[in-house]
């Protein structure tokens, strides 16, 4: 987490993603979330401090709570930056708020001179369950004709990775694309079961390592995700395994060992177990959380049309790396009385990154259309209508018109309802 934040800062992304844009794409219902100009850095400072707090186990409760709140807040500033693994981070942080994760091997524990050796198993199982959900849902989302039968989008992506040393030249072969697609799907669907089953756990973890390192090699741009998942998967190992790791850590530094001497004795002894008793409200919160997690990814059933095309119910559903989508969307401002029209230069309002994301996601297009309508109204234009000229290509298909060009988007209102002005995909994708 700390690395993620520092990486974010070091890459200058705080500036390019949050401060620079003139306008932010908001999540529905979160339009009140705003950036604080240069003070946005302050949010990150607090996040970084809290994540250090979490690692050291210092003021753990406060740290994790702040981290959850602020990190989630920064993500809400602009949905252009939505990534499944940021969402994953927020969810985990939320769960960790309720876990006494700093009652052992931590500064907090050192201070209080007491530790908790056991917590109700359902709390750790909760984290495990969450990881299982992520994998499993990511897996079943891959059971579709594009992924399995066309080997898309991996076909496009892998072919273009010809510059990876040694294996790059192989990546143009169809056989490789199909192998990668199918094994990816099988891995995601089944890995959690093998991790849960003690006898296969070690092998399964080996696969976790292999899989995520491979994804990192093929797609360096996925950032920290592989590492998060690899470390996340260690939760499946039992207490002994973790204690052993901690013991090894002890032997590394003498100072550390001395200070944690009292812990060491406990690490090795099996007696005097103090059980952590969570507050009463925690269990219901966990249950609600999982109830939502289990149902949310299926909300797309409520919408007609192709999910990949309309993206209604796509986010927050662990749909990872399923689409190669490119769009080109321009906006035509029309005076409904004088019939005069002109096109907008998107670069006047959006950063290149925003423009790219906007051009193929209906909710972005609508929000931007409204922004443009407001902007030109404030400039004194009247009777404004906003039309689009929009083309999108999905997973190697030819581009086709995306938004009904006769719809005045300034009259359409964002909601959870089906967006009728998105033209249907002229093809079918089978599967879940």
């Amino acid at each position: 987490m700390l690395t993620t934040l520092i990486r974010f800062w070091a890459n200058g992304w705080i500036h390019t993603l949050y401060i620079e844009p003139e306008f932010h794409f908001k999540y529905y219902g979160f339009s009140w979330v705003t950036d604080f100009g240069n003070y946005t850095y302050l949010l990150y400072v607090i996040c970084i401090i809290s994540s250090i707090g979490i690692i050291l186990g210092y003021r753990y409760r406060l740290s994790i709570f702040l981290l959850f709140l602020l990190f989630t807040y920064t993500e809400l500033i602009d949905k252009t930056t939505y990534l499944n693994h940021y969402y994953f981070t927020s969810c985990i942080a939320l769960l960790l708020c309720f876990l006494p994760a700093a009652h052992y091997f931590s500064l907090d524990a050192l201070k209080k001179k007491k530790t908790i050796e056991a917590i109700p198993s359902w709390m750790v199982d909760g984290i495990k369950l969450f990881l299982c959900i992520v994998y499993f849902y990511a897996g079943i989302a891959k059971i579709n004709s594009d992924w399995l039968i066309e080997a898309q989008p991996l076909s496009i992506w892998l072919t273009s990775k010809y510059d990876i040393p040694l294996i790059g030249e192989l990546l143009k072969y169809k056989l490789i694309h199909y192998t990668a697609s199918w094994s990816g799907m099988l891995y995601d669907v089944f890995i959690s079961f093998f991790l849960l089953y003690p006898k296969t756990r070690k092998i399964a973890f080996l696969f976790v390592l292999l899989f995520h390192i491979m994804t990192k090699v093929f797609f360096p741009s996925i950032g920290m995700f592989p590492f998060i998942m690899i470390f996340g998967a260690t939760i499946f190992f039992d207490v002994k395994w973790h204690k052993n790791i901690l013991l090894h850590l002890h032997y590394l530094g003498i100072k550390l060992t001395q200070k944690f001497d009292f812990l060491k004795s406990k690490l090795t002894s099996k007696k005097s177990i103090t059980l952590f008793k969570p507050k009463k409200h925690v269990l219901p919160i966990f249950l609600t959380f999982f109830f939502i997690q289990l149902l949310l990814p299926f909300r797309y059933f409520a919408y007609p049309g192709e999910l990949f095309w309309n993206e209604q119910g796509y986010r927050f559903s662990w749909r990872v790396m399923l689409m190669e989508k490119k769009g080109y969307t321009t906006f035509k401002i029309k005076d409904s009385v004088s019939q005069k029209t002109f096109y907008v230069d998107n670069t006047d309002f959006l950063t290149p990154f925003q423009e790219r994301q906007m051009s193929f996601q209906p909710d972005f297009i609508l929000e931007y259309a409204h922004y443009l309508a407001d902007h030109f109204e404030n400039q004194g234009h009247q009777n404004i209508q906003v039309f689009t000229d929009s083309f999108v290509a999905l997973n190697g298909r030819s581009s086709q018109r995306f938004i009904d060009p006769s719809t005045d988007l300034s009259k359409e209102i964002e909601s959870f309802k089906h967006k009728k002005w998105v033209l249907p995909l002229e093809d079918e994708i089978y599967g879940l």
Partner: protein
């Protein structure tokens, strides 16, 4: 689509059986030599040598077009000397003729906006229009100006020449009078504009004759700074901005709500806008299809071949659709008046239709082509998942 899905399922099953048994090679690797890359229609995975595409671009398209342009610019420079020494009607018409010839050659150079060209704002200083007439007149009067200032970009290059040769006065007689009086400094400004253009062109040429060429050819990776990606980005950007918007969209009023005939290329010369845009069309087609600059018969590895390579096995080729659209745009341009100003004033609808035809190619370039080649247009450097 449905049929092909079942078909592919069967193929898939076969492939997986092949894997479980003795791993036979299913893919047939066929090494195609350059001469028949373009008509390779087999279902195998052909080889594609990116490096040889880059060297063909550098050696047979980019450098030759810069040299070709420089040669004409040198001749123009001589004509300028002749004209300023003897400002008569004959020399003026010779000068104008050579101006057009040089301007046409420029259309082959503008899209290669990389390296030194990008650093010195080559394309902005050679051909940003409309000309800033006020600025030009002020520069001439004051005799104190710095061409390296961005405020002077629209006061130099071809646009300035356009004004100097056609626009300083209404009639040729009066234009000649202005150049005959050396105290007015028009002749001096003409000389200075021309020598600046030569100076910049020599800089750009020197880059391609130097080490840059080798590093360009060797950079075959797929990332933000690699040659193929930079070139494709420049090409698509040029098509969208330099070609579509500047030559057609802006004057037709696509972005402004009303036509702006004074924004056409070579506005003061009036009847050259169509010739120039057709030349640019040829430059675009040639680059896309890998046609050598000095010899239209010589074909080399191109974007078209690259697309055919990633689409090998597909019946309907994107490259063919792109060529059809490019041809469609050319047909529309051919129907226009030689003088775009007149076309816009008389019947802007045809101009708008031309724009639409070109716009449909932009979509194929920016959406379909860049997706197939998995080349990013922005490089907003952020994580994905």
């Amino acid at each position: 689509m449905k049929k092909s899905i079942y078909f592919k399922l069967v193929i898939l099953l076969l492939i997986f059986q092949g894997c479980s048994g003795d791993s036979d090679t299913i893919e047939i690797i066929e090494k195609t030599d350059q001469s028949n890359v373009s008509d390779n229609n087999s279902k195998s995975t052909a080889e594609f040598d990116r490096s040889s595409m880059l060297s063909f671009w550098a050696d047979s398209i980019i450098l030759p077009s810069i040299i070709g342009f420089e040669n004409e610019l040198n001749i123009f420079n001589e004509n300028v000397a002749n004209f300023t020494a003897n400002p008569n009607a004959n020399n003026l018409s010779l000068l104008r003729e050579q101006w057009l010839t040089t301007y046409k050659k420029w259309q082959y150079v503008e899209m290669f906006d990389m390296g030194v060209a990008e650093e010195i704002f080559f394309k902005n200083r050679m051909n940003i229009f409309p000309a800033n007439v006020e600025r030009i007149e002020r520069n001439i009067k004051n005799q104190k100006f710095n061409f390296d200032e961005s405020a002077n970009f629209a006061a130099q290059g071809f646009t300035a020449l356009d004004y100097l040769l056609f626009g300083v006065e209404q009639e040729d007689d009066t234009i000649l009078t202005k150049y005959s009086d050396s105290s007015l400094n028009y002749d001096d400004y003409l000389i200075q504009v021309t020598s600046k253009m030569l100076e910049l062109t020599v800089l750009v040429k020197a880059q391609w004759e130097g080490d840059y060429r080798d590093s360009f050819v060797q950079s075959t990776d797929n990332n933000a700074t690699s040659s193929i990606n930079m070139m494709l980005n420049d090409f698509v950007y040029y098509f969208e901005k330099g070609y579509r918007a500047n030559k057609f969209g802006i004057p037709a009023g696509v972005f402004s709500g009303g036509p702006l005939p004074n924004r056409v290329e070579a506005y003061h010369g009036e009847m050259y806008s169509k010739i120039l845009s057709l030349e640019a069309t040829t430059a675009i087609e040639n680059f896309f299809n890998g046609i050598a600059y000095n010899d239209p018969e010589t074909l080399g590895p191109s974007i078209k071949d690259y697309l055919d390579f990633v689409e090998s096995g597909l019946a309907e080729r994107l490259s063919e659709r792109i060529n059809e659209k490019l041809q469609g745009g050319r047909t529309k341009i051919n129907e226009l008046n030689t003088n775009f100003i007149k076309q816009i004033e008389d019947n802007n609808t045809s101009m708008l239709h031309t724009y639409d035809a070109i716009q449909s190619t932009v979509i194929l370039f920016k959406v379909d082509m860049l997706q197939k080649l998995n080349v990013s247009v922005d490089y907003a450097d952020a994580d994905g998942d």
